[in-house]
Symmetry: C2
């Protein structure tokens, strides 16, 4: 059975019109900007505007993808969404995307235009989009003529003052998946490694009604907790007779959902590093490839990037391993004049291990590793520096960024080059897969215009940043918000329409380009 070539035919990136300079955040939080910029690679963070959410960003990316490929709604067999910013626990965010697109195309193609399009959400922190891609590759491979869209969309938001704040970002990446792709051929047999972990997650946080009562009572200046009969209040609430609001539900508790995660940064870095390596081993096992061949098999490496320099900071161990297996280790040591620790030189194991850590730091700072990073990893970093973490979209932005960077090289040598993609999702899972650049790449990538898009955004000041973060604005901040979908309203009545979301489209952009 000959498997047809499947892969990604095109990408579209949507980033909000607004960004907040990391330098401004550093000032506001009294952080050393150089550490964030030189150390982590951070320059700007994309900030979702007041009327943007995961659905609008995804719809914007998909619309752009459809337009630039002259596709009609009926051509698209599926739209699979990878997100961890879902707007609902049952109704997939993908249906909101479809809702916007359907409205948009009704005049041209009728209200049934997406009737036979299969949509669903896949959830696994930052790797749900890769899961959607892998399944859509398999689906496209199974039958000629199938065209699917995979889209990732997230608002990567952290609590203010938390150590995640400077890694924030927002945006969506859409990709067209089909047989005989113009851009990237991908083998759907991905390497995978999964281990349950609580490194970063968004639990439904349980809070009892009694806790809420106590909290509010503590806040009230003239009320003493001793004066209040909490048992009596709780009993009243259980009967559901006294209030018509948030506390009026049968349960003794409420579940809070926060857009911001519970996370442990160092633990998450460890999990990322371990899963990536385990998934690479699994990839080798599935493909019969040998350790030590990674840099022969692949010209570039693209990564999920929680911050721009995450990959370069954690990849040196695998880099070392590859050199050892390929027989280039001694050469590397000598050329870079490194001192290898030897257990015999130390009084105890702890001293030895410390020296090993120091040695790894030397490797990371060696001329060879710097060169390796510049040639193979850095092309995938620059866009991340300017938008921050996109969660599910981050690894695809790294791929897009690598490809756009290749436009500035000797383009005649690019087709046929291979990219190894390392994806990670907290919770935790990594996937590793290979992508080969196809003959038609240059024309496709020329239309990414990532850099141009990033250059035309609008900077916001700290005060605006804080207002957006607190969610107190009801209108978009961006001067130019035409040509994009926006959240028009959310029903607040506590009836059978509570939480219904309506979206709109500011049509200026269409007028400009047609």
């Amino acid at each position: 059975m000959r498997t047809p070539t499947v892969g990604i035919d095109d990408f579209s990136l949507y980033v909000p019109q607004l960004y907040f300079p990391i330098e401004e955040l550093a000032k506001a939080r009294d952080l050393v900007y150089a550490k964030l910029n030189k150390g982590l690679g951070l320059e700007q963070m994309a900030i979702a505007d007041a009327c943007e959410d995961a659905a609008t960003m995804a719809a914007n990316a998909v619309l752009d993808l459809l337009h630039k490929n002259d596709l009609e709604p009926a051509d698209i067999g599926r739209i699979y969404l990878g997100t961890e910013s879902a707007l609902d626990g049952a109704k997939p965010t993908a249906t909101y995307v479809l809702d916007m697109l359907q409205d948009h195309f009704t005049d041209a193609y009728g209200g049934n235009c997406f009737l036979n399009c299969d949509v669903v959400d896949l959830t696994f922190a930052c790797i749900g989009g890769v899961d959607a891609l892998q399944n859509t590759l398999e689906w496209a491979a199974a039958k000629e003529g199938r065209i699917g869209i995979v889209v990732t969309s997230d608002d990567a938001k952290y609590e203010m003052n938390s150590p995640g704040e400077y890694t924030q970002g927002a945006g969506a990446v859409a990709m067209l998946v089909k047989q005989s792709p113009r851009l990237l051929a991908i083998d759907p047999d991905f390497g995978v490694a999964t281990r349950p972990a609580h490194d970063f997650f968004k639990p439904n946080r349980k809070v009892t009604k009694r806790e809420i009562l106590q909290e509010v009572i503590e806040l009230l200046p003239n009320v003493s907790a001793a004066d209040v009969d909490l048992d009596e209040l709780e009993r009243k609430l259980a009967e559901g007779l006294e209030v018509n609001g948030v506390l009026d539900c049968n349960e003794s508790h409420l579940l809070l959902h926060k857009a911001t995660p519970v996370f442990d940064g160092p633990y998450s870095n460890q999990a990322y590093q371990a899963r990536i390596r385990e998934a690479l081993y699994d990839y080798r096992r599935r493909h019969g490839s040998e350790p030590g061949q990674l840099f022969q098999d692949f010209d570039y490496l693209a990564f999920h990037l929680p911050y721009a320099f995450q990959a370069r900071r954690m990849f040196s161990e695998i880099f070392m391993e590859e050199l050892k297996y390929s027989g280039k280790w001694v050469d590397f040591i000598l050329r870079n004049e490194l001192e290898v620790p030897c257990a015999d030189d130390y009084e105890n194991r702890e001293q030895y291990l410390t020296s090993c850590t120091d040695f790894l730091r030397q490797v990371t700072k060696s001329e060879d590793y710097r060169k390796f990073v510049q040639e193979r990893i850095a092309p995938g970093e620059w866009a991340s520096s300017r938008v921050g973490n996109l969660y599910a979209g981050s690894v695809f932005l790294s791929l897009m960024s690598t490809l756009e960077a290749l436009l500035k090289t000797d383009t005649s040598a690019v087709a046929g080059k291979a990219i190894c993609v390392f994806a990670y999702g907290s919770g935790s899972k990594a996937k590793v897969f290979g992508a080969t650049i196809q003959q038609g790449w240059q024309e496709v990538v020329a239309n990414f215009t990532i850099e141009a898009r990033l250059n035309h955004r609008q900077a916001i000041d700290y005060a605006t940043y804080e207002q957006l973060h607190r969610g107190v604005l009801t209108k978009n901040v961006a001067d130019k918000d035409d040509g994009t979908f926006f959240l028009a309203d959310v029903h607040e009545q506590r009836d059978e329409t509570e939480g219904v979301r309506h979206y709109g489209y500011a049509a200026g952009w269409l007028l400009e380009t047609t």
Copy 2:
């Protein structure tokens, strides 16, 4: 390219040990039991015990599936979970399932036993499990030897006194997907119909901190709203200095997640009926089959059943259509002595349409339709009558139920029979696919033991039902809770472990059966 046969090799059902008789609910709510029982087919509802959640139920179903098929963890390439009862917005509930299974198998197979197993959650109300199945079929078809598990798990809970209350249920269905299945062969090219709708959903409900303050103040007997400076309180909260609890977050509002949905029953029924029909048309288009052949092509029909008799109550229109296209319409009218309304007989269109509705009711009550229901739909209903709605698992329970019912028929004639499956997810999407019963079916189905399992559950009284519903119990109610996974604790500290969930296993069952 010859496509290999893929499908479902085996099923496992997990239902909680507890059930609540519908007759008791009818008494408590002053409802006519006969309407619920004879009208909707309801007898009992499965109720999740205090330490059960979507993850424990799924893990129980998967463990049973692994045990009865003598499978080792390393045999399983993926576990895809369809649920709308996710425990987290980023970390998939499937990782909790894996966590429990990994712990369970560590002694026998080591802590790495599921390392290369791919897990993820798919979310689309009651149809996420069918999406997981469709993708896993495609994945299994693409490479020999791949074995995947699809599992659905939900706690179908509604607010007390709401019109959804009597349709509640809980449970999980796991299925083994591979090439050359013993049980059901399935063509992965499903019919699909999608239209955005808000018929049933679980929005993140936005509530401002100010609203919470107001609500609590209203509850306090000795405090007048006029005495409280809400602006001042809000300002304090925005600064995040005054409290260390639920109100202490940057946003001006909280997002509430409720396990119970926002829904509109009649609208959801309409959407169900329309999507099912549209998906059937799409199925025909993809398979080149003609209208009027449905009852020739398929011997049984399995449905997503929000309540047991949903399908029989809404299928009569398609039944009529099939008769018309197959040329059996006149025969049907004459044999059942029905009076067909004719537009000329009525003074206006409204009268005519009313008579059409009456006519449809006659069709539904006709001897032929009753016979059709008894032969082709009822075999898939009886288990639903005794557990209620399983959300994502409901359609698979209907399939299992049909197969177990066939054990009581002339089993020599069963292999080769075909089942048409109608799945629906609010939001909204339907899928239609065909399943053909394989030679090895009888041995597999004999181990379902659905009826035996349902007969060995424990009834609870209204008081216990209400306590479980309110979430005030911390220990399981069931006398026998060994042989199942359970939720041991959830971290409540507001630090980087907030919301961490730990699970345990009561090992009695293993001791009993080995």
